[in-house]
Every structure is written in C-alpha cells, then in structure tokens.
C-alpha cells in the first residue's frame, strides 16, 4: 500500500474540519496551543509574556464576541461557544494548573524560567477558555430574559474576572517596605528584588504585638523527628492555678509571670517588653514522684527553662502565639504628614496604593525594630470585583433555581433541551 500523497493528506485534514466540530477538534486545538506554549516558553524564556499576549488575545476575544452576534449560525461560532470546547478548554487549563498544584513553584520556575501562571504554556489555553466564554456569553446575552439571566451573570462574570485579572496583572505593583523608627523610608522592594521609589514615605512610630498566653507541652526525645523531639501540647493557657494532665503526670501551675527574668535560677516579675513568660509548676507523676520547678519559653534576650521528667522527657512552655500585631506609622506625602494604624485585615489607602501589615522581626517579638508592610497598586481591581460580584449574583440565582419546586425545574430543563435541539 502506497503512502498518502500531500494532496490526499490535505484533503483528509480538510475533512477533519469539514465535518461536525466536536471534542476531537477542540482537543487538537488545545493540545497544539499547550505544545506551542511550551515551545515559546522554551525559546522566548522569561520575557514579559503578558504584554505580548495581551493585545492579540484581546483582539481575538473581542472578535469572538462580535462573531457570535454577526454570524450566530456559523458552525465555527457554534463550536467555539459549545459545550465540547468549554469542557476541553476547562480540562486543559485544569490539567496545567494541576502541575502547579503538585510540583513546587521553585522547580517549575527552574524549568520554565518563569512562573507557570505567567508562562505561555498556561496563558495560551487560558486564552482559548476566554474566547469560548466570550462567544457563548455574546451569543446568549441578548435578548436578556429570566431564563438566561443566571447563565449570563455567571459566564459574563467569569469572563470579566479573567480578563480583568489578566489586564490588572500587567500594571500590578506588589511591593514590600521595611518601616523603621529612625528614618523615613520611600524605597520599596519588588517581588523580583528590584526597587521602586514611592510617592510617599513611611516612618514607624511604634510596633505593637499582643500575644495569647503561653501553653505547656511535654517534649519527648525522638531521633526520627526533624527537630530531634516530639511535642505533645497540653490543653489550656498557662495561668496561676491551671491544672493539666498528660499521659503520665498531673501538672499544677503554682505561679505565673507573663513577663519575668531569671535571677540565679529563680524567675522574678519584671516590666520589660523583651522579658519572657515563666511559670512555677508542680508535677506529680502517676508513680507518686513529686517534682517542682520553673518552665519558661525564653525570649530574644533570655534563655528558657524546663522541668526534666526522666532522661528523655521534659515539661516545656511553648512560645506565646501572636493574637494581633499592628504598626503605628507616619506617612509623608508631598510635605503633608499623616498618622495611621495598619493592622492585619485592616489595610489603609494612600492615594492609589493600599498598605497591608505583613510581618515583623519574629525573633524580637514585641521588641521588633521594624515592621514589614505590603504595598499594592492595582488599577484593575474594580474590573475584577465587577466580575466577582456578577459571579456571586449568578451563584445565588443558581441556588434559588436549585431549590425551586422540582416539577418546575424539570419543566424548565425540558424546555431548555427542546430549545437546544431546535
């Protein structure tokens, strides 16, 4: 049997596209896009993919939306806005995202030269998904009626959120600034290590850290554990009179000082932020042995203390966990001074920027000499939020539709099937 000639191959290929368009064509398009994306990523490397992709992809998506209105009966529009293309493009995006969900980012960046999420490999299939969404939304958005409303809200919302997110990522600024007490700082660090001069400066007036009371734990030596020991936490915060039990002991806290210093093996209360919490405890083992001693987790300036329970176990205090932390800062913008408080979950706005409390010197705790703030400028946020709220509207409507009387739902579904068949 002779091999097919180029003309025959062309005719075969034309036949592939001339027949009914479905999953096979969608799979071919998506797999080719992913392969092309991988090739471009390997050759173009970590260049600004978004900028290159944004305009042609944007034009293609607008063309899909217009095409869906102007050539509504075209088989290409029917395929692009159809379920087969939707399922295949969602699956393609999900499969690539699966790689990012399983393989650590550092390994991916080493191979791709860029984050998976800003690589051609991910963005090309994502563009197909957007094109598919634009087509089907444009097709169904008008005439707008109640039956279409939930569909339109969900699809239009998702499209706006994806496109808004892509557009906003082009101009997004995510910076970090280390606010200190001794000077005004206006130079912020970008995620890639570069520096940016801000139109305002920040000075730390004070940093406040509130902690939960400490807790007690039994530490058992264990060579297989990464830190060389295992911790068995004991329930309840430490305070005078607390009684807790472990597998082998009953422990009573006789004294507790939230801030204390060790003087000759005995802890005394002191009024110092950098002091450590300490408790004087009585340990009664199930064998009847009584043991008393001080336990403390220590602090950045003082070592801790423990009560040995035999050769391999000890009663220890775990460091208090942060309850809240906040920075009181002075902002200088164009010669104007403003005082502000930045706390976790309570960011502040400075012009087009938002300032978030990020972290501090965890070793120094309440004595931290600096506070790290995240500064974000995202002009695309209102667009993304528009998409998010449309999707939320669609979701609420879907719940409502989900709880309507089953008979009505079946009737509506049957009407939909009939309409699609026509």
């Amino acid at each position: 049997m002779s091999a097919a000639s180029p003309r025959e191959k062309l005719a075969e290929s034309a036949g592939f596209w001339a027949g009914e368009l479905g999953y096979r064509q969608a799979t071919l398009v998506l797999v080719t896009s992913a392969l092309l994306g991988g090739f471009l990523q390997a050759t173009a490397g970590a260049r600004a993919v978004g900028v290159w992709l944004m305009w042609p992809a944007g034009v293609a998506i607008v063309a899909c939306a217009l095409g869906a209105r102007l050539c509504a009966k075209s088989r290409l529009v029917a395929w692009l806005g159809g379920v087969e293309m939707a399922v295949t493009s969602i699956a393609a995006v999900a499969l690539i995202a699966l790689v990012g969900a399983v393989v650590p980012q550092s390994q991916i960046e080493k191979r791709l030269g860029a984050s998976l999420w800003s690589s051609w490999l991910f963005l090309l299939p994502m563009s197909w998904l957007s094109a598919c969404l634009a087509t089907v939304t444009s097709k169904r958005i008008w005439p707008l009626n109640w039956r279409n409303f939930c569909f339109t809200l969900s699809h239009l919302g998702l499209l706006i959120a994806i496109l808004g997110g892509a557009w906003s990522s082009l101009g997004l600024q995510r910076l970090r600034i280390m606010a200190v007490q001794s000077q005004d700082t206006s130079s912020a660090e970008q995620m890639d290590g570069g520096r940016v001069r801000l139109p305002f400066s920040v000075r730390l007036r004070s940093f406040e850290l509130k902690t939960f009371p400490p807790t007690l734990a039994i530490a058992t030596m264990d060579k297989t554990a990464s830190e060389g020991y295992r911790l068995q936490p004991l329930a309840g915060f430490v305070k005078a009179g607390t009684q807790v039990t472990s597998d082998a002991e009953s422990i009573k806290v006789l004294k507790f000082f939230p801030q204390a210093a060790n003087v000759g093996g005995v802890w005394h209360p002191v009024a110092m932020k950098s002091a450590a919490p300490a408790a004087y405890v009585e340990v009664l083992s199930k064998k009847g042995e009584l043991n008393r001693g001080w336990v403390s987790c220590g602090s950045s300036v003082t070592p801790g203390d423990l009560v040995a329970l035999g050769n391999t176990r000890a009663l220890v205090m775990t460091p208090p966990r942060p309850r809240s932390f906040q920075s009181l800062i002075t902002l200088k913008e164009g010669g104007r001074l403003r005082e502000a408080r930045v706390e976790v979950n309570e960011p502040i706005s400075v012009g087009a920027y938002r300032l978030y409390q990020l972290s501090y010197d965890e070793q120094a705790g309440a004595d931290s000499a600096y506070s790290i703030l995240e500064i974000v400028k995202d002009r695309g946020l209102p667009v993304v939020y528009t998409g998010v709220f449309l999707m939320l509207g669609g979701a609420l409507l879907m719940i409502w539709n989900g709880v309507v009387p089953p008979e009505k739902a079946v009737a509506a579904s049957a009407a939909g099937v009939q309409e699609r068949a026509l």
Partner: protein, 261 residues
C-alpha cells in the same frame, strides 16, 4: 462534649437502620437524624464557647461541621424532594466523620492567628462545609447508583440522576461563593485576591471538576453513567483539596492549609 458526639453518631447510625428497616416510612429515620443533628449542633456551639473562637481552624474542627451539615442537608433536600434516598448515605457519612473525630480526638487550643480574625472567616469556611456536604452526598449517591447499575446489569436512566444533580445544583454555587469569599478575604488580609497558593489552586481545580460535570450533563443528558463518573471524580479532587493537599510536596508553600492541631 464527647458524650454529645457519641449521641450524635449513635442517633445517625440508628436513623440509617430505621431508613433501611422502614423503606416506606420516613418519620422514624427523620426523627433520629434530627436528634443527631441537634446533638452535633449543640456540640459545635459548646466548642465555640469553650474555645472562645469559631471552631473552624483545624481539620478535626471542620470534620465536626461536615458530620453535622451532611445529615442536615440530607434532611432538608430529602424533605424538599420528598425522598428518603438521602437518609442512609447522609447518616452514614455523618456517623463516619463523627467516629473519626471521637476515635482520634484532636488537641484544640484557643489561639487564632491574626489573619483568621476576620468577618470573612466564618462565612468562607461554613459555606465551603455546606458545599462539601452537598457535593459529598451527591457523589455518594452517584457512585451507589453506578455500582447498583453494574451489579444488576440494568442501565441507568436520566431520571436516576435527578437527585445527585439537585445536590450539585446547590453545592456548586456554594462552592463558587466559598471560592469568591476567599478571594475577597485574601485581598483584605494579604493584599491580593489570588496568589496561586497550592490550596487556592486545588480549590480552583475542584471548581473546574464540578464545572466540567455541569457542562457534560447538559451535553450528554442521556448518558447518566458518564456524568455520574465525572461527579465521582470531582469528589476525589475535592477530598485532595480538603485533606490531601497537606501531604503534597507543595504543602510547605501554602499558607491556607488547615492545621492538624
């Protein structure tokens, strides 16, 4: 409190037996299931008071919510659709999760990290738990229908999938709300609504899996075995998102995984 947990688990097991023993009478099963839900709800309430924070921080705490919400959804949807088909799976799932918590009690402390002290914390996690309960039930029923069809050799019909689909029709939008609430909260707490954290990516994958199910069901309405299989696959992805992500190589990069203590 563990006595309440034992009562809830026993009530759900007894309800499952009642549903099996009286296939034409829903009332005994419904009463026992309601009793279990009440015991579980009181347990969660007491836990909330004792911990002085919403008991939604650790895996064990979310398991209690799942144990209570699954029979609760089974009751409401069963009543709405006038069916008792949800009774046995809802009770067994509730009892299973309650027993896991009773046999492996977790250490629960009162601390709550600053980022979790947000008005978004409770709606975000509760909406997710409601959605997980509805989707878990739908997958359970779907898999049972598939197994029954394979066992008996009788093909599935489109009407067989009405109940699992009704649960997805409620569970999927709740999943969407949970995802979007999380994005809005992340913006408020960390400065960006989407950071491709492994937990976020798995939440997106779960959402995509159910999105595929919804589309496949529209296109292949008369191939119930196909969309019920997709439904089962979706629940596997959901379980990885909830529990499994803690065991993946990417878990160290995540700031959103549930703590195990």
């Amino acid at each position: 409190m563990s006595a309440l947990g034992v009562c809830a688990a026993l009530a759900w097991l007894a309800a499952a037996v009642a549903y099996a023993a009286f296939p034409r009478r829903r009332l005994p099963g419904d009463i026992l299931m309601t009793l279990g839900v009440l015991c579980g709800a009181i347990l969660i309430g007491l836990l909330w008071i004792e911990l002085a924070r919403p008991p939604l921080r650790t895996l064990g705490e979310t398991r209690w919510w799942y144990a209570v919400l699954t029979p609760a959804i089974g009751l409401v949807v069963g009543w709405r659709f006038r069916t008792q088909a949800l009774g046995i799976p809802a009770c067994l799932l509730g009892a299973l999760f309650a027993l896991i918590n009773l046999l492996h009690p977790e250490y629960m402390d009162k601390t709550l990290m600053p980022a979790l002290q947000s008005p978004w914390f409770v709606p975000h996690v509760v909406v997710y738990m409601l959605s997980y309960s509805a989707l878990g039930l739908s997958s359970g029923i779907g898999l049972w229908l598939l197994a029954r069809s394979v066992w008996s050799g009788a093909p599935l019909t489109a009407s067989d999938t009405r109940l699992p689909h009704a649960l997805v029709a409620v569970g999927f939008p709740l999943l969407t709300c949970g995802l979007l609430f999380g994005a809005l909260w992340a913006k408020q707490a960390w400065g960006h609504y989407w950071a491709w954290d492994p937990k976020e990516t798995w939440a997106l994958l779960t959402w995509c899996a159910y999105l595929i199910y919804l589309h496949v069901r529209i296109r292949h309405a008369f191939r119930p075995a196909l969309h019920l299989s997709v439904l089962g696959f979706g629940f596997v992805v959901l379980l990885v998102c909830w529990f499994g992500v803690n065991y993946l190589p990417t878990s160290a990069e995540s700031v959103h995984t549930y703590t195990r203590q």
